[in-house]
């Protein structure tokens, strides 16, 4: 019987994430893969502004903290200087799909040989629950108190579908971490992305549907239910692009 232990690539710092938040699971998956592929020593992670801003305290690989939305540009600078290192960005929906839209689109279009872990929980977490570019129509947030009105606030962005149209994208896949089965699928997807990068095939993005019980105003269990009932239909899981760019 294997013992459940902390992956070597995670530090023993207590993380700051809220109860029921799935960032911790995603961190763990990345760390497990670093261990399994034995790449901690060559990996450089770039963390965002948002809830995962302190991710550099949790991973044991070298880490760089980027300004809001710019992680793909920062990772580009890292990768161009150090093409043999494995480089990933870890970004939320506000960081990637609002303020950092230009950076992610162009990193993808260039086929930048990096991996983006995109955690989509349809809300700004760190700043206290404002409307995000991926907030659902009708979803109540601090800045859409009556629910997102698409006539006023427009529509959510489906990042994987959008990026999949770009020729530089080697892998665009949407997964979820709402139950054990999907957690396992998420791990497989991240591993695939890292392998694609190791084989220099091009840009890879794994979009992970994630929960934010605190800012959704739901219990952790109900948050998982809402992810299943509301987010997944709007953001269908699946592979949107898979090919070798080079």
């Amino acid at each position: 019987m294997p013992k459940f232990t902390r992956p070597n690539s995670l530090t023993d710092n207590h993380n700051h994430y809220c109860p029921g938040c799935t960032h911790g699971i995603i961190h763990r998956l990345i760390a497990e893969i670093m261990d399994e592929m034995d790449i901690q020593g060559e990996t450089i992670g770039v963390c965002p502004v948002g809830c995962a801003v302190l991710a550099y305290d949790y991973f044991k690989c070298d880490m760089i903290q980027a300004s809001h939305g710019r992680a793909p540009a920062v990772a580009t600078g890292v990768k161009r200087a150090k093409p043999e290192n494995l480089v990933f960005t870890y970004q939320g929906d506000g960081d990637l799909a609002a303020i950092g839209t230009a950076e992610i689109v162009h990193a993808a279009a260039r086929g930048e040989n990096i991996t983006t872990i995109f955690v989509n929980n349809a809300i700004y977490g760190m700043t206290g629950g404002q409307m995000a570019p991926t907030t659902m129509p009708g979803q109540k947030t601090q800045t859409s108190p009556s629910g997102r009105d698409t006539a006023l606030e427009g529509f959510p962005i489906r990042v994987c579908e959008m990026l999949a149209t770009l020729d530089g994208v080697a892998l665009a896949e949407r997964v979820s971490v709402h139950d054990a089965k999907h957690v396992n699928a998420t791990k497989k997807a991240i591993r695939k992305a890292f392998e694609i990068q190791k084989n220099k095939k091009g840009f890879s993005i794994i979009e992970i549907l994630s929960t934010c019980p605190t800012n959704w105003g739901l219990t952790p269990n109900k948050a998982v239910d809402w992810l299943k009932s509301d987010l997944i239909p709007y953001y269908p899981l699946g592979v949107y692009q898979e090919r070798s760019v080079r």
């Binding site: 710019r70 540009a73 600078g77 200087a81 150090k82 230009a102 950076e103």
Partner: protein
Amino acid sequence: MSKTLMKGNEALAEAAIRAGCKCYFGYPITPQNEIGAYMSERIRKNGGVFLQAESEIGAINMVYGCSATGTRCMTSSSSPGVSLKAEGISYLAGADLPCVIVNVQRGGPGLGTIQPSQADYWQTTRAMGHGDLRLPVLAPYSVQEMVDMTAEAFKIAEEFRTPVMLLADGLLGQMMEPVSFNEIGGENKDDGQSSPNWAASGHKNKREKNIITSLFLDPIELETAINERFERFEELRAKYTRSESTNTDDADIIVTAYGSTARVIQSAMEMAREEGIKVGTFRPITLSPFPEKALKEATKSAKKVLVVEMSMGQMVDDVKSALEYKLPVEFFGRQGGFVPGPQEILEVIRRMK
């Protein structure tokens, strides 16, 4: 080696490569496009990286990532583009990352003009990003100095772990002058990728992980970091503050200017001397740290000081404050892309006599 005619922008790019710059990230904007164009061919041939970013914001953040790995790198832009880089420059300063940033100034505000200007003095020396930060700023006044100071800027950046600004203008970028690369030598033997002990370049399971960040949520940590950074700037002040004085010993009037304007005041001084007016000139070469002591020294015999800039008057503040408001300081400036001519400066000098 004999001298060759080169544009300031191209000479600067060549100098950067010879100084061991491995990666260049930029975005097109006039009047500095020759830097990117030159790099796109020459740095790649040299095994380095040229990348045209999606924006100036992209470019400065690529510099941030590249420098975080301990790789020698730079970006260049012109005034509106430098405004866009401001965020990234603040992060670079906050994370103690060395790099060289070139501003080939054009006129503003807004889109302004593509013609030369010196209206970014305040931005560059005072507010090049949010937060408490002081950047070293070098101001070349000839194509040769574009070369020499580029090499020096990399040296300072790495010695003091700070972004360094090279503040030029459209005139210096676009003009050709004879230039020699003898002083900075040939190709830098040091590969610019030495991965210093602080860099995030992959720990290879041989050391503790490195973190590059400008975030310090603990007030004590942030205060300590800022104090330490400012102490480093004081060391830099003691070691690298530079200026040039001409004919100041007997001068009644000291004319002061930096960058390309400092050339013109030399001509105006010669013309004034021919008329028997005792004029000397003072040229700050580092704008930050500002050469306060040297200016005081240069104005010992002076009764009046004239500051000439291609702006409404920005450096003039530093001149007044360096002189402790004890000497009358007048200002003459041109805007809109006009380079002040020696004749019009001479007329101001005559009036001041």
